[in-house]
């Protein structure tokens, strides 16, 4: 019950984050008002990585849960991966707009941009694989195994690759000094926005899983009536 209330907190946190991002947080010194995209771009990227990680964990649970105590885990993993894909695309779009405003071009093949392209390709391949296996009994096992492999590549593409090569992106929040170089109000706004987007993700996943359960039960009833 408490978890439900927490994930519904985005109804309040999201308008709050929007107001704080545009009207409360100061603009960055060099980037000016363009810097306000950070309050949407960073949470979107964070949620996409979280959603991909959750899909990997659910897939592992599906493979270990031989007795199927938790039903439809592979479908739930698919739901999480779908949300992750949508959020990753939104992160790419917002990032691309920001790149045009600050670096003069929509796409620069910066290490972080390149790594997100690779991640998107990995997950597009998952969706193709899954749709190609429609009606196949091994669909859940093969799809879940693929998602675990995809999850294992994430730390390299998200955390390692952008730090190995010189990047146009600013120093990451987890940097060499181990302190975020952000004004207090900017940091607070970013945190609220990250919480808002995370609870929005949790809420959408919860809705999708409930709709899935309703559809599956209907399907079972239909087959039982046959």
């Amino acid at each position: 019950m408490l978890i439900r209330q927490v994930i519904k907190s985005f109804y309040i946190l999201m308008p709050l984050a929007i107001l704080m991002a545009f009207l409360w947080a100061p603009s960055a010194e060099i980037l000016g008002d363009f810097s306000r995209i950070i309050y949407f771009h960073v949470p979107l990227a964070w949620v996409s990585v979280l959603a991909f990680l959750v899909s990997g964990v659910l897939s592992a649970a599906y493979l270990f849960d031989k007795k199927q105590r938790y039903p439809w885990l592979d479908e739930k993993a698919f739901n999480s991966a779908s949300i992750g894909m949508a959020f990753a695309l939104l992160a790419v779009i917002t990032g691309s707009l920001w790149a045009k405003l600050t670096w003069g071009s929509f796409w620069n093949w910066d290490p972080r941009e390149t790594s997100i392209v690779v991640i998107l390709l990995i997950y597009i391949a998952y969706f193709s694989l899954r749709s190609a296996l429609a009606g196949n009994d091994r669909r859940g096992v093969i799809g879940s195994s693929y998602l675990i492999l995809a999850m294992m590549t994430l730390p390299f593409f998200v955390f390692l690759a952008p730090r190995i090569y010189d990047s146009l992106h600013p120093e990451t929040i987890i940097n060499a000094d181990r302190t975020p170089h952000l004004d207090d109000r900017m940091r607070m706004t970013l945190l609220i926005s990250i919480f808002a987007f995370t609870s929005l993700y949790a809420y959408i996943l919860h809705l999708m899983n409930r709709a899935l359960a309703v559809a599956k039960r209907l399907e079972e009833e239909y087959h039982a009536a046959d």
Partner: protein, 66 residues
């Protein structure tokens, strides 16, 4: 009822924030904020309705089982 309660809290938060706002913000920022908030309200309403519909379906299914 829940919708009214949520709207009430949103209004409270907006009022508190409005009181804390610095005065030197350009009109463009207010316009952008208003547009995004309107889009967000539409989206939140859609999600709320979807939640209600799924809840109704779940309840119907439970009734059918009984």
């Amino acid at each position: 009822m829940r919708l009214i309660r949520t709207a009430f809290w949103v209004l409270i938060m907006v009022s508190l924030l409005a009181a804390a706002l610095p005065e030197s913000r350009s009109d463009v920022l207010y316009t952008v904020t208003a547009v995004i908030l309107i889009v967000w309200i539409g989206l939140a309403f859609f999600l709320y309705r979807l939640d209600r519909k799924i809840t109704r379906l779940e309840k119907n299914q439970q009734k059918m089982k009984q």
